[in-house]
């Protein structure tokens, strides 16, 4: 088993928890399923089409995928924890901005540690 944590802003906000709340119930159920599979299988999930690395941002940065919905996450190897950084609906025009959002949260998280 791996650990799953929501990324929590210094203000206490948990953007992925809020994002999941706002999703259509069926999409939400499918996204939660992917997270549970990640918790149970860890990086083995990379052998399926449910998860892939996000390229260009160093290692340990991944996304979970269902339809055109994504959760960007970070694998903190030392604690065997996956930090859910950012949830978004993939749109061609906005994708790089979404990844930037996830990455800035990751940097903030790492600075705080």
């Amino acid at each position: 088993m791996w650990h799953i944590d929501y990324y929590t802003e210094p203000s206490g906000r948990q953007p992925v928890a809020e994002w999941l709340d706002g999703l259509d119930k069926n999409v939400n159920a499918h996204m939660q399923d992917k997270v549970v599979r990640l918790q149970q299988n860890g990086l083995m999930l990379l052998n399926t089409s449910m998860m892939k690395p996000i390229k260009g941002y160093g290692s340990d940065f991944y996304e979970l995928k269902y339809s055109n919905y994504r959760i960007a996450l970070y694998h903190e190897t030392a604690s065997n924890t996956f930090i859910l950084l950012h949830g978004f609906k993939k749109e061609r025009k906005r994708e790089s901005r979404e990844i930037e959002t996830a990455y800035s949260r990751l940097r903030e998280y790492q600075l705080r540690r």
């Binding site: 119930k25 159920a29 399923d33 299988n41 089409s49 449910m50 269902y66």
Partner: protein, 135 residues
């Protein structure tokens, strides 16, 4: 208050409508893992598997993404092309049991230690951890 993913999921599963949708998602992702694992064992890429069983690579990707909803007929005949047969099993829906022996023997900082294997028997391919006490 800080929320946790596990508590949120447990809460949502109280809603029967959500539970049904989650169950449907679990069935698909379970087969996705089964297929990806079988393919890896055979040393095939998604493309190679696709041509072996006579479907598109995009369809294999959907199956391994837990996004396709194949019939049991389709699964059976697809697996037959790689000389495999489907077996199924059931486990508890929620991966977060109320009482967790796991937490007792495998606390969150346990990565520092080696696993107490004499107390816990778990399988890597099971969709849910299994605890067997041999005290």
């Amino acid at each position: 208050m800080t929320r946790t993913f596990g508590d949120d999921l447990k809460q949502r599963l109280q809603d029967p409508e959500f539970a049904k949708m989650f169950g449907a998602a679990q069935a698909k992702s379970s087969f996705a893992l089964t297929l990806a694992e079988a393919r890896a064992r055979l040393g095939l890429t998604q493309k190679e598997l696709a041509s072996k069983v006579g479907v598109s690579q995009a369809y294999i990707s959907k199956l391994e993404g837990g996004e396709a909803n194949p019939t049991l007929d389709r699964i059976g005949s697809l697996l037959a092309m790689i000389e495999l047969s489907l077996t199924t099993d059931t486990v508890k829906l929620s991966p977060y049991p109320e009482t967790s022996l796991w937490e007792i023997y495998w606390p969150s900082d346990a990565w520092l230690m080696s696993p107490p294997v004499e107390f816990i028997q778990f399988t890597t391919d099971a969709p849910q951890k299994k605890e067997v006490l041999t005290l």
